[in-house]
């Protein structure tokens, strides 16, 4: 969150307030807890006890048909909007989009989000999750790598249980960014009767070979860190260096040359000079590397390395519907769909949204696509989302 805050501050384009929002006190939110037992994963393993956190904004109506599900991205959790206290320095990541009179209007809708399994921020006091760092009730020790591989479908199925526990039987809309977009379209393909509207932000309909290899790069430094110890480190020093490296990679993948060069002070006109320390010692590093490392070090404090491996695998395995035939799964979708790729996204490149959108059109579905244009690449899906606030509002309300 601190990092994103910094990004927003530095960005050339500041979208701090939705242009359709009316200034108002941010409502306070609380993290709630959902538990279930004997949860069967997509790969047919059983997790004896599952607990996840969830948040909601706005009120569920009597018909229970005004629920909008927000599915969160890789390094996020269910804190999509609002603040936990009056003096909370940072609201949820899409607070510009979600709130009273905002594009996703909490005066009209019951907006809900659920922490993923194997959530990255397991040591964040506001996250409740179940993953490799969780105590296995059979052994009273953390699962480590004995935790089953979980998929985007498992996140969806947990969300469905949370919704059903509230008496909800159908969503108004599902919307998510990045890994959240995977959940959103998997919802639409797997439970089509639940989903009349689906919005995919900086998303895809399957993780292609290129993106699979890109995501693998986040896992490699963790596995190389000797402290990783094959995932068994919960009673000793954790693989923090590997985790920091992974987060440095993720940060760069989520940004753009334009932004990083602004931070690093290099351009054709005002280039950066030779750096004396890097010239003097092979063990020193350039300032931009130190910038990335400092931010990653802060973020690593609440993150778990094994959880990162599991989220990476869920993202790599993703194909909407989780069947071997993508078009068959897409043909099941009843939702009207809206894709919002970011033009300069280097992580989930725009062609992924274009392909998904075109496949749906070819299947006779109602699909729209509009492109985010900020200078933040993948992060436009978070920091520049209000570029499309009016589009989202109209899509939801029609």
């Amino acid at each position: 969150m601190q990092f994103i805050f910094f990004v927003i501050k530095l960005s050339l384009f500041i979208y701090l307030t939705s242009f359709i929002a009316i200034a108002e006190t941010t409502p306070l939110v609380i993290k709630q807890r959902f538990e279930t037992e004997n949860f069967k994963t997509f790969n047919q393993q059983e997790i004896k006890k599952v607990a996840v956190g969830w948040e909601s904004y706005g009120k569920l109506n009597a018909n229970k048909d005004n629920a909008i599900l927000i599915t969160h991205y890789f390094s996020a959790n269910s804190h999509a909007a609002g603040k936990y206290s009056e003096d909370d320095p940072q609201a949820g990541y899409w607070d510009n989009l979600i709130g009273p009179n905002k594009a996703i209007d909490t005066n009209k809708y019951f907006v809900i989000s659920v922490d993923s399994l194997a959530n990255l921020g397991v040591y964040n006091e506001h996250v409740i999750t179940t993953g490799p760092a969780t105590l296995n009730p059979d052994t009273d020790k953390p699962y480590g790598l004995t935790f089953p591989v979980v998929t985007i479908r498992d996140f969806v199925n947990i969300q469905k249980l949370v919704l059903e526990s509230l008496g909800i039987e159908k969503l108004h809309t599902v919307i998510g960014a990045s890994m959240g977009s995977m959940q959103a379209i998997d919802w639409a393909a797997t439970y089509p009767k639940w989903v009349p509207r689906m919005i995919s932000v900086i998303g895809n309909a399957q993780t292609d070979a290129w993106t699979t290899a890109l995501i693998e790069r986040w896992t490699i430094p963790i596995k190389l860190d000797p402290a990783w110890n094959n995932g068994d480190y919960y009673d000793q020093t954790p693989p923090t260096e590997g985790l920091i490296a992974a987060l440095m990679f993720i940060t760069q993948d989520a940004l753009t040359p334009e932004f990083i060069n602004e931070v690093g002070g290099s351009s054709s006109v005002n280039h950066r000079p030779l750096e004396a320390k890097s010239l003097a010692s092979i063990l020193d590093s350039h300032r931009i590397v130190q910038w990335l490392r400092t931010r990653a070090t802060t973020r690593a404090k609440t993150f778990d390395a094994n959880h990162l491996l599991y989220l990476a695998r869920a993202s790599q395995l993703f194909i909407a519907g989780h069947k071997n035939n993508l078009n068959k799964s897409l043909s099941e979708i009843k939702a009207k769909t809206l894709f919002l790729p970011s033009a300069n996204d280097l992580l989930l490149m725009p062609y992924l949204s274009v392909e998904a959108h075109q496949s749906l059109k070819e299947l006779g579905k109602t699909s729209e696509l509009e492109t985010l244009t900020g200078n933040l690449g993948h992060l436009n899906g978070v920091s520049a989302i209000t570029e499309k606030a009016l589009k989202i509002k109209n899509f939801i309300e029609q």
Copy 2:
């Protein structure tokens, strides 16, 4: 070389032969050795004994004014053209460009290339280099990290010594791809009287903050590998896993989604199915990852991990002229220049060539820019170079 061979085979666009070349027996080449003593590096350190390999194709004329210098890329060496023996399976990397009656015509020109310091392929029998893996004559042990940081300028200065040892006082042309482009433009900026023509392929005029951070990613897995041992591993097991990871990263950075997805069998129509092994075990990996790993493992056999760190640092520190004012250095250039970026290059992105070209134009220099359009991204600078064979021929001969 095997990797590049594979790439060429699989590529949609096969540029195996120059369209202006006349089929002819590839001439045999030999690696020659150059030695010098008390070489002073750009950062004011001394290397007591330096040895590098070099190759040449064609004949130096009586005036010694027909020399074309080829400066090589990161994972290459001076083997730019020709074969070492009749049954050599693979010619030098630009053999399509360099040879009798080819764009760089060895019937007219004396074409020469020199192995870099800290050359990556130190265990390749055809490479002669001096770097961290070399025995320090003062200690009779490998330098390891006591080897000084070397720069692109140092590679240039060694090349100049090699040329001078042959009685050459001026080049006809300098041309290089990628890290070779850095050497080419540094030549033009530092020794302007030597360089009337400079061709930068998939290049830049400075390594910006974005690219510096990207290159750093190659070094991180090596440093995380416990076998790296702070660079002191020459009498024990080397950090092969870290080196393999670095080479996997480099391979992906040098390619494109289009190409990798063709290899991995994923597209919107013919997508890849869920992979059972990756779904079953967090320790297994996807096929595209195994493909990258297999190739990297083969390449790692002749490469040294410390050498990779030093080449990465040289590339990160690069700014044409190696002064703190790029425009001042560029203003020294007397050469006419030609930039050949690759449209879909994700490593040295086309904006880098565009910026260099525009800066030169603004300084009143004669500069041209044309764009390579293959599907191989950065690797177009090697595999698709014959797209611009005629352009290169005309640029050189006018």
